[in-house]
């Protein structure tokens, strides 16, 4: 269980985040959703431990981790553009962090991750030879072998195209399930957030606009922002797709 208590962040005079107060259960997928500049990446960095919050506390399994360094927290992140080392091949990227661990992971265990992410045929490839989806999976594998307590994903789908997007979405859900891994995803796309996650945190201007399950958000939007900017997009999409298939609904 990860608890964020009254998190506030200011840069100089500018308030970037205000009173973020949520609880995330283990194994849950939670999306941080909001327009660009709303503070969602800052919140991700605060959870990761890269940026220090100005006020408030973070608790993991009841323990205060507010002052803990990024390394000690044991969370891990997959960046939007993957940040794979270009001078190492796919396999060396995957096992990069293992060289620093005292407990050795067995060859078999590593292989399980590789098989799970279907990376066997690509292991000896250079990074620039991989497709977007393959890079994404290598980056996820590199992070998973470190056995993180919480997995953070920064815009995981934005660098991918159409069909791959859907399969990666499925993959993320599988990961969360198989490893009972708490997963936090940053996205600006309402469809992505609402179809991928168990809960969605909608942020507007640094404050919580709504925190709830996709169903709650659709059925009981809390305010005008959620209705206007989140739901409206989905209505238009739905309308267009229905029209495309020649079906009529309300």
């Amino acid at each position: 269980m990860l608890e964020l208590q009254h998190i506030k962040k200011t840069f100089g005079d500018k308030v970037v985040l205000q009173d973020i107060d949520i609880t995330i259960q283990s194994g849950e997928i939670v999306s941080l959703l909001g327009p660009s500049g709303c503070g969602k990446t800052t919140l991700l960095n605060i959870i990761l431990g890269l940026v220090q919050q100005s006020e408030g506390r973070l608790l993991y399994e009841g323990q205060d981790i507010s002052q803990q360094s990024m390394q000690l927290r044991g969370f891990n992140i997959v960046f939007q553009d993957f940040a794979l080392f270009p001078h190492l091949n796919a396999y060396d990227n995957i096992v990069y962090g293992l060289k620093n661990k005292k407990q050795q992971m067995s060859k078999q265990q590593i292989q399980e991750y590789i098989d799970f992410l279907e990376l066997q045929p690509h292991l000896t490839k250079k990074i620039h030879e991989l497709s977007g989806g393959q890079k994404q999976r290598v980056a996820i594998a590199r992070t998973l072998v470190m056995q993180p307590k919480v997995l953070l994903l920064d815009e995981p789908l934005s660098a991918l195209d159409g069909v791959i997007k859907e399969s990666i979405k499925e993959r993320i859900q599988q990961i969360a399930q198989q490893f009972n891994l708490t997963t936090i995803i940053v996205t600006h796309d309402p469809e992505e957030a609402l179809t991928l996650s168990d809960k969605v945190l909608i942020i507007n201007d640094g404050s919580v606009a709504q925190f709830g399950t996709p169903r709650e958000i659709i059925q009981q939007p809390k305010n005008a922002f959620v209705e206007q900017f989140i739901l409206k997009q989905l209505y238009i999409k739905r309308h267009n797709i229905y029209q495309l298939f020649g079906e009529q609904h309300d």
Binding site: L50, Q71, A83, H87, M146
Partner: protein
């Protein structure tokens, strides 16, 4: 890609002609002269040189002192750039470091030597502070410090640009992967920088190896190749053919360096991400690097401070009363004012014509399908390889009997060719980044190719054009090695006058003239920087 038009060919022809006459032909002439021995053509000049122990010693000296300088410069430049990109430095301090490291670029290298003499000599400013001279400034020490001061800004700018494009997220990844500091440094910083570090070393080595200004002022008894060449051409015993052979020998390290650079490119890794990423906090790191960089910056400022002290005191170091007598005296010497006027004229014409030429070459290279377009890359590599002294010498050989001799024009032409590589590369980079469908769009709108260039392409690279002008102007103002062989008494420039004033020990005048150059360059830089940011700001506004 659009088809080639007659306009493109009309533009390409004079450019090709220009480089043939002012780059290829002169170099062939040097090679040709170096083989001449009396009435025969042999390798006699070379074999004499190789048996001449004084020359071999000078060559070895050049190799040693240039390698030492390049090594130290590369390390300092790396640490300075690292401070700027990988640590949190106070804004004011950042500005101070940046300014003091790059400011010496606005001065001729020959000034560096005299500044060193006044800082570290028996009566030097720093000697006074330390009590006794820390070391003898003439010879190896002077050359080493001079070369470091000369090449540090160039290496620093190179590293600074490369670090800008390193993905800082690697540091976070490495940290999350529990890397120890050394492994983190290797994978996230050193490895991505490897090519640039190599390039900085090679470049600073070549610059030091071929520089003339610094050995001319503080070389002392420590003979280097540049001085051997100067003596062969303009010394007491003139031996033109031997000079030509020395010039060719001087090319060898440069050629090897350029080949190595090309080889190093293989290890270059491309990064796409250069967005701002939060740095991992570390007070120890921030303080350590701030202190180191400040010390470097303060040393540079302390050394160059004499430039502001000596000209404005009655009789340094005995009478330190403030005075403008010396400055006024310079204004009374019509000769010196004439030199200054010459310098301004040369630098302005070089900037205008050079930028035009580099721009055209880059345009033809990047945005036309002409078969001859690749040749400009070769010209660029060649101009980068040929040291200024060798180029100037080649002009002396080829144009000595022509009407070009002793004109402002020959100096301008030599400068344009000598400094071609950087402005050409700047223009190429800017042009390559631009959308390649613009010309097609222009054609669809019934524009001619040239009209599209004028109406669309050029307005979108205003900032780059101002930077090119600035680069040419500044370098034309400070170069000594490129023009030392081709100036005449009528076309004397400030930078070459300084060399002459040395014989009369008129150091005060030297410093005042140096200040003239510094102030002029600074003003031009400020104006062009202003225009360039103004230009790009307008572009941004148009885009949004």
């Amino acid at each position: 890609m659009i088809k080639s038009t007659p306009m493109m060919k009309i533009l390409a022809l004079p450019l090709l002609l220009f480089f043939t006459v002012f780059l290829i032909a002169p170099l062939c002439m040097v090679a040709f002269q170096s083989m001449r021995f009396g009435a025969h053509y042999t390798f006699q000049n070379y074999s004499e040189l190789l048996q001449n122990s004084a020359f071999l010693q000078a060559f070895l000296n050049s190799l040693i002192v240039s390698s030492c300088a390049a090594l130290i410069t590369t390390i300092i430049a790396f640490l300075l750039a690292y401070t700027m990109h990988f640590t949190k430095v106070n804004k004011g301090l950042r500005f101070f470091i940046q300014t003091s490291v790059t400011l010496p670029m606005l001065l001729p290298t020959i000034t560096y030597g005299f500044v060193l003499i006044y800082a570290f000599g028996n009566q030097g400013t720093l000697t006074q502070l330390l009590g006794s001279p820390p070391f003898s400034i003439y010879g190896f020490n002077g050359l080493l410090i001079g070369y470091i001061l000369y090449t540090l800004p160039i290496a620093y700018v190179l590293m600074n640009n490369a670090m800008l494009y390193i993905d800082k997220q690697y540091l976070t990844v490495s940290y999350l992967m529990h890397d120890r500091p050394l492994r983190r440094f290797y994978h996230a910083v050193l490895r991505p920088m490897l090519t640039t570090i190599g390039a900085a070393f090679i470049l600073t080595f070549i610059l030091s190896f071929t520089d003339f200004g610094i050995p001319a002022s503080v070389g002392g008894e420590y003979e280097v190749v540049a001085m051997s060449l100067y003596r062969a051409m303009l010394g007491a015993i003139v031996r033109f053919e031997q000079g030509a052979a020395i010039a060719i020998m001087m090319l060898i390290p440069a050629v090897i360096g350029i080949l190595l650079l090309a080889y190093l490119q293989r290890y270059q890794v491309a990064f796409k991400n250069n967005k701002q990423v939060a740095l991992i906090p570390s007070a120890t790191r921030d303080i350590a690097f701030s202190v180191f960089s400040s010390v470097v910056a303060i040393c540079i400022v302390a050394i160059f401070a004499v430039l502001l002290i000596v000209p404005f005191t009655m009789g340094y170091p005995y009478d330190l009363t403030f005075t403008l007598t010396h400055v006024k005296a310079v204004f009374m010497q019509s000769e010196l004012l004439q030199d200054y006027r010459n310098s301004i004229i040369v630098a302005s014409i070089t900037a205008l014509l050079g930028t035009l030429l580099a721009l055209l070459a880059a345009l033809l290279n990047t945005r036309t399908p002409l078969k001859t377009r690749r040749i400009f890359d070769w010209f660029s590599i060649l101009t980068n390889t040929v040291p200024g002294m060798v180029l100037g010498l080649s002009y002396l050989f080829l144009f000595n009997d022509s009407t070009l001799k002793g004109t402002i024009l020959i100096i301008v032409l030599c400068n344009i060719v000598h400094f071609f590589t950087t402005p050409y590369t700047m223009a190429k980079n800017a042009l390559q980044k631009m959308d390649h469908t613009w010309e097609v769009t222009g054609q669809l709108m019934q524009d001619t190719w040239f009209a599209t260039i004028r109406r669309v392409v050029l307005p979108n690279m205003k900032a780059t054009i101002f930077q090119m002008l600035n680069y040419y102007f500044l370098n034309a103002m400070v170069t000594v090695s490129g023009v030392i062989f081709i100036v005449s008494t009528e076309t004397m420039l400030v930078s070459t006058r300084i060399k002459e004033l040395q014989h009369f020990a008129k150091y005060t005048d030297i410093f005042i003239l140096s200040l003239f150059i510094l102030v002029t360059n600074l003003l031009v830089k400020l104006v062009l920087d202003y225009l360039s940011t103004k230009g790009s700001r307008q572009n941004n506004e148009n885009e949004s």
